[in-house]
């Protein structure tokens, strides 16, 4: 397998970029939000802003699970890790996210038993391999990862696994979009809808955005061409005064979503009355908790969790950046105290965080659509 930098369909990309210019009203200022952190990463990586007209702003949304997790939840999870005979298992993305007293990795250096897993089922394996210890899986993510955690809990229950639990931080995308639309300092014209999250929930849950809020939304893939085509679809709707849900990513996203995944989630999880989001505050019915029938595997019920609340470092302006009020580089700490190597705020930790994406690609000068030799690639 070759590792090459090239854009496919260069002619089509050029044509689509031209179509975007044709559809753009020069008198109008467009603000489109890409909800998903994967799209944020792709937009910076491909330098898509360079091919868009100046009056189209892409606003980076809340769809980076690591970025929206409040710091207190990390400390809550780590407080469990501090108890004797507990193994704290989490995805690699979590390891460098700072809590008030350091990241999981720093806690590991101080003696906590912290392990990286790549799949929640690996945490089950870990529990079986360590019968004298308790394995707590620190679960995060939107609907993309929540079904996997649900299935893992079903297995743990079916096998009667006693030394395993989940500290559930799963969140749901729809209430976050609602909170953003309700935010008074937010003016958006349309949404680039999440790709892989939508493979699970499908397109139907977005219908209210079009029908009630009058905003177009296009579920979108991750290639440069996907993103540009979705922008064309949004601009067409805006030009025609329409608002509907469209699916640009039909080749992966079924309109109805993944029913087996939704069923597993529904069996294991229920909505929390409210949950705190970093940068967005408390949002009602925006996160998942483990149902009573799985209480035995719920770390929040099994352990005494302090329920820590920590305000972000005052100087870091993660909240404003998350809401699109500030661009990453406008934060006082950006590239100064806060860098991907030594992050202060969560947006700098994950490659899907807008600050890390901005930092990496502003400094590294990648191949972008505007400077790639489009004619030379196939």
């Amino acid at each position: 397998m070759k590792f090459v930098d090239e854009f496919r369909n260069p002619e089509l990309i050029t044509k689509t970029a031209e179509e975007i210019r044709r559809l753009t009203d020069p008198q109008r200022h467009y603000r489109l939000m890409e909800v998903c952190g994967g799209h944020t990463h792709a937009i910076y990586r491909f330098g898509l802003k360079d091919v868009l007209p100046e009056n189209i702003d892409l606003i980076h949304g809340p769809g980076c699970p690591v970025c929206v997790l409040p710091m207190g939840r990390i400390d809550d999870g780590l407080s469990i890790a501090a108890q004797p005979n507990v193994i704290f298992a989490a995805f690699g993305d979590m390891m460098r996210v700072p809590g008030a007293h350091g990241s999981p990795l720093e806690h590991k250096a101080r003696g906590a038993d912290v392990r990286i897993v790549y799949s929640p089922t690996d945490a089950i394996k870990l529990a079986k391999a360590n019968p004298g210890k308790h394995v707590m899986f620190f679960a995060i993510g939107f609907e993309t990862t929540a079904p996997s955690t649900a299935l893992t809990l079903q297995r743990a229950k079916a096998e009667g696994l006693e030394n395993f639990s989940v500290f559930c931080n799963h969140v749901t995308i729809i209430p976050a979009i609602r909170a953003i639309l309700d935010s008074p300092d937010m003016r958006l014209d349309g949404f680039i809808g999440p790709g892989h999250c939508s493979t699970v929930i499908g397109c139907r849950p977005y219908e209210w955005i079009a029908s009630d809020e009058g905003k177009p939304i296009v579920v979108c893939g991750f290639e440069p061409l996907d993103l540009l085509q979705s922008i064309v679809m949004l601009l067409r709707q805006l030009k025609n005064g329409e608002a509907k849900v469209e699916n640009q990513y039909k080749r992966v996203v079924p309109w109805e979503g993944n029913r087996a995944a939704l069923k597993a989630m529904n069996e294991v999880f229920q909505l929390r009355p409210y949950f705190e989001w970093r940068g967005l505050g408390f949002i009602s019915q925006s996160a998942l908790r483990i149902r009573d029938s799985y209480a035995q595997w719920d770390a929040e019920r099994r352990f005494n969790v302090p329920g820590i609340r920590i305000t972000d470092p005052k100087a870091a302006q993660c909240g404003e950046v998350l809401k699109g009020v500030l661009q990453p580089a406008q934060c006082k700490l950006f590239a100064q105290e806060c860098t991907p190597e030594s992050p202060v705020g969560a947006l700098m930790v994950s490659s899907e965080g807008s600050c890390a994406a901005f930092y990496n690609y502003q400094h590294r000068k990648p191949v972008t659509i505007s400077n790639a030799n489009l004619a030379a690639v196939v």
Binding site: M1, F3, V4, D5, E6, F7, R8, G37, G38, H41, A42, R45, F46, P65, V66, F91, G92, D93, R115, I116, V117, Y118, S119, P120, T121, D122, K125, L126, K128, A129, I140, G141, T144, T145, P147, S148, L151, G195, H196, T199, V200, G221, F222, E223, P224, R251, V252, P254, N258, R259, A260, A261, A264, S351, E352
Partner: protein, 97 residues
Amino acid sequence: MCLAIPGKIIEITSDATRSALVDVMGVRRKVDLGLLQEDKPKTGDWVLIHVGFAMSKISEEEALDQMHTLQMLGESEAAIEEVRGYGLEDLKEKRIT
């Protein structure tokens, strides 16, 4: 965590535990098929994998596109690392450390 990794099903290893052996860019690992029970994949099918679970069936063309996207995003090595990390085999074969 949010990577969608394309893999080709080489073998349905167990119907009971709903797992399959997949090939991801030359790396072979077991993945879980539990989330595709309504539209069961078979040997030779391509799937998109998230955190060790096959999440959707895709065409071969789409799978190649996805690999291309991962490469362009500079994440194909992270994807390989993730797949290598799946400890879904028996512990005898691969100890989780």
